[in-house]
Amino acid sequence: MPLASTGAGGASASGLAGAPAGRPAAPALPIESHALPNGLRVVLQPDRRQPLVAINLWYHVGSRNEVPGRTGLAHLFEHMLFQGSQHVGTNDHFRYLQQVGGVANGSTWFDRTNYFETLPSHHLDLGLWLESDRMGYLLPALDHDKLETQRQVVLNERRQRIDNQPYGRAFERLHELLYPPGHPYSWPVIGYEPDIAGATLDEVVEFFRTHYVPANAVLTLAGDFEPRQALGRVEHYFGEVAAGTAPQAPRQRPVWPSAERREVLPDRVELARVYLGFTVPAVGDRRCDAAELLAIVLGDGRSSPLYRDLVHDRELAQEVWAAVLPMEIQSTFLLVATARPGVEPDRLEEALRGHLATASRGELAADELERARNRMVAAHLGALQSLDRRADLLSRATTFFDDPERLNRELERYLGLGAGEPAAVATDFLRPDRGVVVHVVPAVGGGRTAG
């Protein structure tokens, strides 16, 4: 799950209105890190307030590990993982979890695949058994029938979320234009239909063998357990899983666009929509943090410049938002606005660019910076409320940076950004000649709804 454009944890509240300097805005989470001999990294975040435990597993594999012509394999594989393993029957994964009131899911993204469940804490072993069984004992349970079933489910998913959704293909198209052919971020995570239709069982097995090894995984537990005991249970279930070799990360350097690319995309919509897409530095780079701060300043809330100007004052847009997708090779920065009836996309685009130009020109005003900082603090604290989000953020910090403690310094990092840094990002990266523009417009003849 990509981190939203706000969010962080941390200690210092300097600059926060009303807070005495130095008082922590967020409590530091107690965190323990371990590694099993087979390479599995284990992060423990004990919290005994509620009788729940969140189990979260990140495998450092995603759509970026695929090849053109066989896209969607990571996501298809994620589906396969819920269909049982050697000691778990075909429909039993969810059955066992739901029988005890567990809430579970998984997701695939460009850089990683995660699996997670929150259970009443006295069922910790059940969760560990299920996750370790599908990590270490999946292959005997993989067969053609299961592949066929999930292939159909995924094809339905693609239709439901993308092909049958107004604007569904826009983001996918934007990434195809923003990143060059062959770049791992140029194809959608869910993959293209012919590739999903053509995936073979051999390819699925090979994918598992390559990427689903303990050394390529991080397991985080957050919630009601005693750490030494919990570690013992983790070792009990995961210790015997064969180590394997962590695969090499795909070699891809960031590619920076050198010219604008534009496209008009007819779709079955009533209102036009404009997407401006840019690429900014990778997660972990200070400039990515500054881009996230910029997105909040520009578009977060009804007092933000984008909303005030485009939605409220000039009534050009029905809705508008700015977002950053932080990724490992390089990140995507998006500005999206849906046009009011009668507003041409070009006019909307011009309005959006005007705000980027303003952003490039100078430092943020003190009150704008204050508002954005306070929003970040609130969003970060909000995210820490639930165990599963906390566990996911810890797995993320460990997978990307090998540093779970980073979560405790998150807010400090964002609050430490200077007033001029968002402008520098806008100037260097959010330039017309370095971005992609997609106009989604009502398809002539077929898009208008029958009168």
């Binding site: 429909n91 969810f94 005890v100 009533e270 609130a378 409320q385 639930s386």
Partner: protein, 472 residues
């Protein structure tokens, strides 16, 4: 990263799920309820370990009060609370809330209007003051009404291309027209165009009142302080007397005027999207008020039918037939008789099979008692998953809202598990028999009518509508 010293090697038995450890009990968070002199109830739950607070002011101005020809009035009135008070403009209100890192939003659904605010705990007084200002001294500026109106109209246009919105609008109309539930919360273009500022003011004056309302507060605060601030900021608020309260002497029927019409048989509504590549499908029935004694049994029935991944419908439509990414069912909680809705998006050529499956399952629930294993799974899931949303302040608020809106006793959730377990196979069959009447079913399919009609004619009378007719 620390590495553990070698642990003793012993083969792990992986046969079958491991047994649980000793269970730690879960208790619903403590809260206190008081009532201000003007009738406003105040619920205060001092929970959470983070310096956050969430507030919600519930007022009895739900869309159930939309006058005829004015569908959308309740939600529009509630939204306009955001758009200016006697002291501050829309922008100033937004800026004040957002500067504090918080949020302030007003909206309405069927049962109530709600003004919600999330804030950092240190700003509790400012936040509550802002909430009170918006609730008690709204200005309903004419210019803002126009803005909202135009935006709403554009939103209806956008929804005409959105299969889920079309499905919802068609289903509510099929089940409930001509009662007020037959509209959507957003309303219709004709009514939205006609709403005047006077009508908004009258609606607010009549329905957005402290009597019958509740302030809910969850988070990091001292209860006494919260009660004191509530009294300071909302205690002096006296509006005109509210419209008559629901007849609490007949608790089963809270809205006697909302009676879904009877039909001779199932109705099939096709919303024609000729170029859709998949079909959005709904199968719905009207049921009962949240306050009705049968609601809890229906809630358990819903879980068996389609309320979790391992429910009957999801397993058959997704895992067995492979015709969908997911199928689920939901039971509405409303003051009036809300719907039970089966929802899924299926491959267009499989719609007939999917509807057949849904109708068969409904029939099976009427004719065959749910077995002990399946019943136990439903109980365990509902009971076990109950604490999950309560990790978040918003989840606790949601449950307090349930108590406030439906007049449930303060200790209601202490007996949650027992109440669910008391629903046995016989009780399930009884409510299935009483409510899953095939004549009351409405089926809505949004997709290419030419391919859908032949598949669905066998199930009932088919009507074909255009998106423009459904969302107008």
């Amino acid at each position: 990263m620390k590495e553990r010293p070698d642990a003793p090697q012993r083969p792990v038995s992986r046969r079958g799920p491991p047994p649980p450890g000793p269970q730690r009990p879960f208790r619903f968070p403590e809260f206190e309820r008081r009532r201000l002199a003007n009738g406003l109830a105040v619920y205060a739950a001092p929970v959470g370990h983070l310096p956050l607070v969430e507030l919600e002011l519930l007022l009895p101005g739900g869309a159930e009060h939309d006058p005829p020809e004015r569908a959308g009035l309740a939600t529009l009135t509630a939204a306009l609370l955001n758009d200016g008070s006697r002291e501050h403009t829309a922008l100033e209100l937004a800026a004040a809330a957002e500067r504090l890192g918080g949020s302030l939003d007003s909206q309405a659904d069927w049962d109530a209007a709600s003004i919600g605010s999330g804030l950092l705990a240190e700003h509790l007084e400012s936040g509550l003051g802002l909430l009170a200002e918006v609730a008690t001294r709204p200005a309903f500026p004419a210019r803002e009404l126009e803005r909202r109106r135009q935006r709403r109209l554009a939103e209806l246009l956008r929804q005409r291309a959105q299969p889920q919105s079309l499905a919802t609008a068609a289903l509510t109309r099929a089940l409930y027209a001509p009662t007020v539930y037959g509209n959507t919360l957003d309303g219709r273009a004709a009514g939205l165009r006609a709403i005047t500022r006077d009508e908004v003011e009258v609606f607010a004056g009549r329905h957005l009142t402290p009597a019958g309302g509740a302030l809910l507060a969850v988070g990091a605060f001292e209860p006494e302080r919260l009660f004191g601030l509530a009294a300071d900021h909302l205690g002096d608020w006296r509006a005109r007397p509210a419209s008559p309260s629901p007849d609490v002497s007949a608790p089963e029927v809270v809205r006697p005027d909302i009676v879904p019409p009877e039909h001779a048989g199932p109705r099939i509504e096709l919303v024609n999207q000729p170029r859709a590549v998949q079909t959005e499908l709904r199968v719905g029935l009207p049921t009962v008020s949240r306050r009705h004694p049968d609601w809890v049994a229906l809630h358990v029935l819903n879980c068996v039918l389609g309320g979790k991944f391992t429910s009957r419908l999801n397993l058959s439509l997704r895992e067995r037939l492979g015709v969908t990414y997911g199928a689920h069912s939901s039971l509405a909680a409303r003051l009036g008789p809300g719907p039970l809705v089966i929802a899924t998006a299926v491959a267009t050529d499989a719609v007939g099979a999917a509807v057949g499956e849904a109708v068969t399952e409904l029939g099976r629930l009427r004719s065959r008692k749910v077995g002990d294993d399946e019943l136990e799974e439903a109980h365990s899931y509902l009971i076990g998953a109950f604490p999950y949303p309560l990790q978040r302040l918003g989840g606790v608020l949601h449950r307090l809202a349930e108590l406030a809106l439906y007049g449930l006793p303060d200790d209601y959730f202490r007996s949650h598990a027992e109440r669910l377990r008391a629903v046995d196979g016989e009780a399930l069959r009884a409510v299935a028999g009483r409510y899953l009447d095939p004549r009351r079913i409405a089926v809505v399919a949004v997709g290419p009518a030419s391919r859908l009609a032949p598949q669905l004619e066998a199930f009932g009378e088919v009507s074909i509508r255009s998106p423009k007719e459904v969302i107008e």
